[in-house]
Amino acid sequence: MLPAVAALVVVTLLPIAYGFYLSLTSYNPVERGGPRFHGLDGYVAVLSSGQFWQAVLVTIQYAAGTLILTVPAALGLALLVNGRFPGVALFRSMLFLPRVVSLVAVSMIWLWLYSRDGLFNYVLDLVGLPPVSFLTDEDTALLSLILMRAWKALGGGMIIFLAGLQAIPKDLLEAAAVDGCGRWRQFRHVTLPLLVPITIYVVVVDVIYLAQSFSEIYILTSGGPLSSTTVVNMLIYKEAFENYRLGHASAMAFLLFCLIFALAYLNIRVLSRGGRR
């Protein structure tokens, strides 16, 4: 068993430590001589580059946009399938399907949906609107990615909300009903406040994942057009494996870690304050 623990340390902890050392160096593997230590210079350079802050902004927009679409919709679906009626088990598993399928596979499907002859342009044509180049237009690319990612995140959110709904004691809703609360007021004053902890969980876990988005963006837009969809992870990839600035990229990776930590913390604070009101 101790060898297992040792392997764990070698594969998880050492790379992080080595990565932190690299972030304090300037290292281009194409040049000779290995990493050159330069302290916090790399961090200063990253923090003073407009490109980095632009990527931070895109990352926040991407995560926030996806959450704003997906969290209410997932809650709605959970309310819909929380009950006994014909077909409910089938509906639950079908709604969960996007969660089981990989992001790369999902991106392939949406590549067609967004294409010139795809479903979305067909629907636009039906209502008499001109076609849109969803993924190659600077104004729509990020929004198109957000819509896809929100769809992908629906099922997972729904299942967690469903578990939350089923944990609410029936007596509470009944007591509210006795006191004359209609369905809306039961939902607003009993169900919703009790769902706050689970909402925090859904949002924080999603933020951690969304802030690390890469594959769907690489496949559908590769960060373009005009870096309108270049999230921090995309920028790190390009710095490291296209420009070979490994020290610089490592510093960005640690700053992304800080960003994720800050976003998660902020969400916990804001949402738990909202729950107390």
Binding site: M1, A4, A7, L80, S102, V104, G155, Y218
Partner: protein, 304 residues
Amino acid sequence: MSLATAGRDRMVADRARPHRGPARWRRTALTGMATLLVVTPFLWMLSLAFKPPTEVFTYPPRLLPQQPTLDNFVYVWETTNIPVALTNSLVVSFLTVLVNCLVATAAGYAFARVDFGGSKLLFILVLGSAMVPAVVQLIPLFLVTRHFPLAGGNDILGQGGTGLLDTHAGLLLPLLVQPLNVFLARQYFLDMPDELADAARVDGAGELRIFWRIYLPLGKPIVATIAVLSFTGAWEDFLWPLVVVSSPDMQTLPLALSSFAASGVVQYGPLMASTVIAIVPALLIFLAGQRHFVHGLGSGGVKG
């Protein structure tokens, strides 16, 4: 039951009965429509995968192929890199599952039941490392893979060659041990009674034997959970293969799909057929492990 509560119960029962008869079916219809909307992309994926090329660009697009065909699958199988990529993905994913089921359970067991020096602190560090974004480890792991001693033309100091880049071993490296799996295994073994180990110890069994013969066989749900999680993790992984793989022979399915989609004019029929091929194994594994999976995850949150 007193009279007062009986009266209240009737009132509650009256309110809690909206889903009967036609109302029940109304809810089925409403949920059915929402479900249909959510699965629409999958329906079009299947539609395109089974359509002959002539029908792909017909306007208006039709959901049901007029002449369903397997031509796209045949084309993908005979002329593209998908079969090679499927083999690579299966090899990497199953090896990942095998190693994770052994190493993560052993490490989890050690953290749960064996007190060794600094075990608490080490566990916190490992758990903390699970919260660090994968990209932080990406560059160090890339350098380790490239400078792996005595591999791919490297000398003992890891210089001169390409190391484990573009090999199965390189693809596997970061997938072999996953902190989240260790965490789940630890929580599971913490919940198990100590008496089992004590009884075995009286009979003279060593710690390894106790783990292998007693606790691991009792831990099937957690092994199933780890198997599902590590399979999907390896199956879906994109960034690491993108960084490590350079030749078509080493491509995994996500890479093959992505280069397929990036190759000039996209052929949507074969692309969707390949997507179906990429989805089915993951779906099967998920369905097979689902029952254990939910149970295994549920036990994770009980004890800290």
